[in-house]
Symmetry: C2
Subunit: 232 residues, 2 copies
């Protein structure tokens, strides 16, 4: 895969609507390409706001508090557009969860270039509102849910995003580690592990390998997720 192909994928994914050839050329010039593997240093620095397109693979957006505490603010997957803010009260970084390819733009430049392209900026706005809705869901999870509800919510939402239905349930490949899950759910790695064991013991899922999850009872998980619909 070449970087030109990567830009094409970006263009057809996000910029699918009309775009002038001039804008496309300028955007392509402003783009910075990167590919990274899990364990690599964070991809995006934090001097300026960035807009990053995930061409393939998956990433985590991490916020850093004092004392080395980390909060995973979002997991993002191929095709997603991510806003990575510059450091203010907290520092942010974007790290690869697996082999992935990214295109990044300085946010100010990006907006300047696409603002005349009405369909595109609306598309970007919609991405941003989806990210906002996801982040609010995360706020509920972090603020008002028990450890078990957090795990169940997480698994259900991952199943909705990228689960593949199989005969016995829904299969999931989760590229993040238990530690990443903990940092995303506001829990320790031990609590994540314990709650997973409990869900396993309840027959709701099995884990054929470390990154593979087979959800046997999605309704049961939903019931444990503390969603409003499952409420009495």
């Amino acid at each position: 895969m070449t970087f030109t192909n990567l830009f094409d994928r970006f263009a057809s994914g996000i910029l699918s609507l009309s775009m002038t050839e001039a804008t496309r050329t300028k955007l392509e010039a402003a783009a910075r390409y990167a590919s990274a593997l899990s364990g690599d240093a964070p991809i995006v620095g934090n001097d300026k706001d960035q807009i990053v397109f995930v061409g393939s693979g998956s990433v985590k957006l991490v916020a850093h508090a004092s004392a080395g505490r980390e909060q995973v603010v979002a997991f993002q997957f191929a095709g997603d557009l991510v806003s990575v803010p510059a450091t203010r009260a907290h520092a942010y970084s974007l790290s690869a969860l697996d082999d992935c390819e990214l295109i990044s733009f300085p946010a100010d430049e990006f907006f300047k270039l696409v603002q005349q392209e009405e369909g595109i900026i609306l598309e970007v706005l919609k991405c941003s509102l989806v990210a906002l809705a996801n982040c609010r869901e995360k706020a509920i999870t972090l603020g008002r849910k028990t450890a078990q509800e957090r795990l169940a919510s997480f698994l259900v939402s991952m199943a909705e995003r990228g689960g593949t239905p199989v005969d016995r349930g829904v299969e999931l490949h989760l590229p993040m580690s238990r530690s990443d899950m903990g940092d995303s759910l506001g829990l320790t790695i031990e609590t994540v592990s314990r709650q997973l064991s409990e869900l396993r013991a309840s027959g709701l899922l099995i884990t054929p390998s470390r990154s593979k999850f087979l959800l046997l009872d999605l309704a049961g998980l939903q019931a444990r997720a503390g969603h409003i619909r499952a409420a009495a």
Copy 2:
């Protein structure tokens, strides 16, 4: 104050850039006006995504989990534009914290009308990205901070938004109750109260009345907020 004045304030605040007369007329036709007081029933229903402009006063955006648990997702003040999502896994509502005036639009209609107005949609996008950044800060607070850090973070951010410098420090009028603060910070009302007492005992602030806060040592509060800058 008439509702026409209210729309004018919206137009000059958010739509300050060029807008055709036709679009303005259509927007005005799509607008639904509401005024509400604290304690009133939630203002915005949850059948469809809404875009709400806060003309005056202040509101809380609340997400509802099962078992009656509530998470305040954001406090918003005069001049803010708020995206209120329709119910999905959780239900959302917008409630007045004090006497306030609002304009709401169905989100789909709003976007349809402003998408041709390039300056405006960019402005809306920027609002959305600010909301996203705020929500991410909240995720850090809820996921990785102690009760004391949460309170300190909250007070510092409120001071940045609407504090008035006085000779002894920074004065704050907070329209929300302790209960709202707790629901925003993922704490109980008792914990909020206890941590406030501790901050008082440390000489960082005094509370001349229930809604009035005098922050005596903003740097001291910042140091307790768990921000990256205050880190060792």
